[in-house]
């Protein structure tokens, strides 16, 4: 009885705390959404408010109906996110799993090999030369998928850690005695037990692909291959650039028409909504992880 009362208080505290966090998230994001559905003139003259003073959907009308680019870009974004995440979830655990095995001789060496990549990088110039001259990915879809995003040291080390902690070595030994090969064990024993980390890394990698605009910036000039973030980022950075370039302002570009604040805010909303909608899909595996964890015990 006392226990369940404690439990109830505990749940209450958790809920209150998380609710506060959610409110701290929702207010700023609502301010963003409210900004995107407020009339521009009102934003600049009356300022921001949680309830739009002059309601207007013109920003969305502009983004969604007048510029056709956005749907094409959305398609590209989905495509690269899907391919990229799938490939990443193939090669990352393949590398992470051997590193988690205490009986793997090259464990320390390869771990260091992986970790080193998180500290040093050659910068964009050598990467650009390599990818464009050696692999010719400029202005192709591959440019959005392959450089930098497919695998990073962080997710390898996260996974390695998870495997090391959660996959009992006895389980692997037992399977081996049954005559299973390493890859079979990896697929049939290790992976099913690792759904939570697979979902987490999948989510993080997926967000990485979805939100990336740097690959597009460096390797793609052809608007057919612009991803959503690429398109949006180009709009945002050009607005900032035009607002600060004296040469352009004095050279005659002072009266260039720029996308208004509300459009820029709508852009943010449009970029976030699709990936939010995918979140429950990843979430599913978190729950599965729990039940498997129980069975395993």
């Amino acid at each position: 009885m006392a226990n369940s009362k404690n439990e109830r208080i505990f749940q209450l505290i958790i809920n209150v705390f998380l609710m506060i966090m959610v409110i701290l998230v929702i207010i700023p994001i609502w301010l963003l959404i409210a900004g995107s559905i407020t009339d521009d003139a009102s934003l600049v003259s009356n300022g921001y408010s949680l309830i739009p003073k002059v309601f207007s959907l013109s920003a969305y009308e502009y983004l969604l109906f007048k510029s056709k680019d956005i749907f094409h870009a959305l398609g590209i974004s989905f495509l690269i996110t899907a391919i990229g995440t799938a490939v990443s979830l193939m090669i990352t655990p393949l590398l992470a799993y051997p590193l988690s095995r205490k009986d793997f001789v090259a464990r320390n060496f390869i771990s260091f090999f992986v970790f080193f990549t998180m500290l040093f990088n050659g910068g964009i110039v050598p990467s650009y030369i390599m990818w464009t001259q050696l692999f010719h990915i400029k202005n192709t879809l591959w440019a959005l998928i392959i450089p930098n995003l497919l695998m990073n040291g962080f997710s390898v080390i996260m996974m390695k850690n998870y495997f090391a902690q959660n996959i009992p070595l006895e389980l692997i030994e037992a399977s081996k005695i049954d005559g299973a090969g390493e890859l079979y064990i990896f697929r049939k024993v290790v992976l099913p037990l690792s759904l939570p980390i697979m979902a987490t890394i999948g989510l993080l990698v997926g967000i990485g692909f979805w939100n990336d605009w740097t690959n597009g910036l460096y390797y793609v000039n052809d608007s057919r291959y612009f991803s959503l973030q690429n398109l949006l980022n180009r709009i945002l950075t050009n607005v900032q650039f035009l607002a600060s370039s004296t040469e352009i302002s004095q050279g005659g570009g002072a009266n260039m028409k720029l996308p208004a604040v509300s459009i820029r805010m709508a852009i943010a909303v449009v970029g976030v909504v699709p990936i939010m909608a995918l979140y429950p899909f990843f979430q599913k595996y978190f729950v599965k992880g729990i039940t498997i964890g129980a069975v395993k015990g």
Partner: protein, 310 residues
């Protein structure tokens, strides 16, 4: 005796091969994507002449590095970078674990989904957008705080973008706000993987929730915390450019508390647009981070060798 050991070793080597093979795709990718371009570090020691091409440009020794140390700002920007990183590591880790545990203890599928989704939202926004939201709150002219909230509370408007004292708090808050969803989910995924029977046994023994957390969850999170901390130490001279440049709207009055190595380099090279000098800055940050990681890792190795990163 000796016969059996050689036999066992043979078997072990045979067992190693599949493991090696599994690492091949990943290693190839890292080799191409990360290691080949590292050779480009030589750019930091050259004066780029595009007509000659970067390979034939003149060597200039360490002169591309001098600008990082020459000014009296060198101390301020280094101090800011390191202190903010320390604050982020400590507060971020504590908060991440706390929220991760809460999410795992939460009853009710829907609620859990709801909270996770909501808390993750800021992580999805780009810094430019976060800066817009910050501006919507803190602008003198149009901001929600100065226009609506502060007057209602009977407080005077604050000129946020000219008030350096406020920014250590603002930056820390926004950094946690943006990153908490990500880090709590990382911890949550580890907590979910913990063997449930451990808790069941503890419950049978009558251990309170707090005791369960302290004696089961936290010790099992330790390896991951250590790992994340070591990784963050490696980036202690780096800073999130968006957080320190975009969010303060590049306001000069805030430099004492917002200037970091990355923002200094960016601003300093805006006009020069010199890739060698920025490569030099990146190399400097990496080398310092690398040395600190080696030190941190060797300490961990001494204290609890199984948690060392390599």
């Amino acid at each position: 005796m000796s016969k059996t050991t050689t036999k066992r070793e043979k078997i072990l080597w045979k067992r190693q091969i599949p493991l090696f093979l599994m690492t091949i795709p990943g290693c190839i990718y890292l080799m191409i994507n990360n290691y080949i371009p590292i050779f480009g570090i030589f750019i930091a020691f050259k004066n780029i002449d595009y007509g000659k091409g970067i390979f034939k440009s003149d060597w200039v020794g360490l002169s591309n590095f001098t600008y990082l140390f020459k000014t009296k700002d060198a101390f301020i920007m280094t101090r800011n970078t390191v202190l903010y990183n320390l604050a982020f590591i400590i507060i971020g880790t504590v908060m991440g674990i706390a929220v991760g545990i809460m999410l795992s203890e939460l009853r009710g599928k829907f609620k859990s989904k709801f909270y996770q989704t909501m808390i993750l939202l800021p992580y999805l926004l780009s810094w430019v957008i976060v800066a817009y939201i910050g501006y919507a709150f803190m602008s003198n002219d149009t901001g929600l705080l100065n226009n609506t909230i502060l007057p209602k509370l009977g407080l005077k408007p604050v000129s946020w973008y000219a008030e350096p004292k406020a920014w250590p708090f603002i930056l820390t808050f926004v950094n946690i706000w943006k990153g908490i969803g990500y880090s709590s989910i990382l911890y949550l995924s580890t907590i979910i993987g913990i063997d449930k029977s451990l808790y069941e046994a503890a419950q049978v023994d009558g251990a309170s929730k707090w005791k369960q957390i302290r004696n089961i969850t936290l010790p099992l999170l330790k390896p991951m915390v250590i790992m994340l901390v070591i990784m963050n130490i490696g980036r202690i001279f780096n800073s999130d450019f968006g957080l320190f440049y975009q969010l303060p709207m590049n306001s000069g009055a805030l430099y004492p508390t917002t200037q970091t190595i990355d923002t200094y380099v960016y601003r300093g090279l805006m006009q020069l647009n010199d890739v060698s000098m920025s490569a030099a800055a990146g190399l400097y940050q990496s080398v310092v981070g690398f040395m600190l990681v080696i030190i941190a890792n060797s300490i961990v190795r001494k204290v609890s060798s199984e948690n060392a990163l390599f």
